[in-house]
């Protein structure tokens, strides 16, 4: 499925002294089978945008379309799953299994389908061994995986993750990026909202840069990052390669770590 924002504007607390315009005329599509990275500074509108993709927030003006049609919020939320920042704050059930089963059960699915979904989802997140545990006795990284499983168990066609790796150790972060790749391979589009450009560089097929509620750039990672190689808008790899490209175009525009390493080795060994 394709989710499209058309000329979306969002104003918090309109008509009050606290009015804030968080999104200004944003047009952007999440294409089928892609990982779309949403990046931008603090307060640039990333989370507000994420919450429009399943109409948790309604646009003040503009439209949200799914495959060129307008859907009601309830139907949209069954097809687009949203994982909030620090989602483990919403864990509530006595066991991990019950927590993950909550949303699919509310969809009215048969109990054996629910069980199946719970098992598969925990498996995908490497959390099957936690099924019988209390979610409150888990570590931060484990809780995060369980909270994500709770949304994935609804089998959404698009999964929106808002800062999913904040507070995770590097190895757990890496595992979660592996889950993002596996989901995409399995036909689920993923929208990854992140302030960490290095992780977006590793998994995104396309990147959208937000600035003060507007889309500043959107395109493939190499297009976007090499167009703006400054510290605040480019991952480490691009910041290393960009100054070396002058007079050495053969180095190319690598973005991912392994590509970058290969390109730099090539440079150092004197081959293009």
């Amino acid at each position: 499925m394709r989710v499209e924002l058309q000329n979306v504007r969002h104003v918090y607390a309109p008509g009050t002294p606290f009015e804030v315009e968080a999104l200004r005329d944003v047009s952007l599509a999440v294409e089928p089978d892609e990982v779309l990275g949403i990046v931008g500074g603090t307060g640039s509108g990333k989370s507000t945008l994420a919450q429009h993709l399943n109409l948790l927030l309604e646009p003040t003006s503009g439209r949200v379309l799914v495959d060129a049609r307008t859907l009601k919020g309830g139907e949209l939320r069954r097809r687009v799953g949203l994982v909030f920042q620090f989602p483990e704050a919403a864990l509530f059930a006595p066991t991990v299994e019950e927590d993950v089963a909550f949303a699919p059960r509310r969809l009215g699915l048969d109990e054996d389908v629910v069980r199946q979904r719970v098992r598969e989802t925990l498996e995908l997140l490497g959390a099957r061994h936690l099924a019988g545990r209390s979610p409150f006795a888990l570590s931060g990284g484990e809780k995060r995986r369980v909270a994500i499983a709770g949304v994935l168990a609804m089998a959404p066609e698009v999964l929106v993750l808002d800062e999913p790796t904040a507070g995770l150790d590097p190895a757990t972060r890496e595992d979660l990026l592996g889950v993002v790749r596996a989901l995409r391979e399995g036909g689920t589009s993923v929208v990854l909202v992140s302030h960490d450009l290095d992780e977006v560089a590793e998994v995104a097929d396309r990147v959208c840069v937000l600035e003060e509620g507007k889309v500043r750039a959107v395109g493939t990672p190499e297009e976007v990052f090499y167009a703006h190689p400054e510290a605040s808008l480019a991952p480490t790899t691009v910041r290393v390669v960009a100054p070396l490209r002058e007079g050495r175009p053969e180095v190319g525009r690598p973005v991912r770590f392994e590509e970058t390493l290969a390109a730099l080795k090539g440079l150092l060994e004197g081959r293009g």
């Binding site: 606290f18 500074g41 989370s47 800062e163 290095d198 150092l268």
Partner: protein
Amino acid sequence: MRNRNDEGARHGGPPVVSCDNLTFSYPGSERAALSNVTFELRAGEYAGVVGPNGGGKSTLLRLINGLHRADSGKVRVGGLDPATEPYLVRRRVGMLFQNPENGLVAPFVEDDVAFGLENLGVEREEMRERVREAIRAVGLEGYERREPHTLSGGEKQRVALAGLLALDPEILLLDEPTSMLDATGRREVLERLEEWRGARTVVHVTHYLDELLDADRVLVLNAGKLVAGVSPERLVFDPDLLRENRLALPTTLRLAAALGLGPAKLRTPEDLASAIARKIGSEARAR
């Protein structure tokens, strides 16, 4: 076994924070969150704390701040037990929580920043001045009358930091203070911390080793045990210690190491680019 403790820079004077065989378990948990943790911090020391999720980093801060009571062993802050004297200890200790949501309490940003000072009974004019200065220092001018719940995660993190700046405590406990910040925001926070160096005692929990390259000492906590207390240089050059504790080098150092360039002085991506350019230049001349 190699001795991996008590390295790094030394500061004189009595310890301001000390833990002696500190052991703590969460109710209902079969495994201790911290077991037999022993270390001392001197006034002015900058200590990093790293290690896997569930290793005990946040728990350690909460024990130092008196939010939990030790099962056995001792924790002392300026000679006081934080579990029995939490109010006296918290006059000296400021804490930033990992999830910025958990630290914000007041209806408006400026009230939130002032909250700690109000509790200490600071005089009104001085309080205004300190709040204004702190808000400016974290780049949130114009946000004074915003409601914290309308702010982004990164902005909330800045508000929480401003509250700490206004309070200016002797001892700072920072639980992943940059976890929600972009590159610019992170750099600003780290510069701010740098200004405190030596004048304040800092305990800085993070998953980003590049934030600790100038720390006096890095404590590594894994599965509740203090497995190392080493200088940052020692840590980044010890692949076993990194791997065993699920730590990763920052991308710049990882690239440098994979290219056979010693990671020593290469802090930023721009440093690495210059080192590569110099190397290519000298090799081209040699051919």
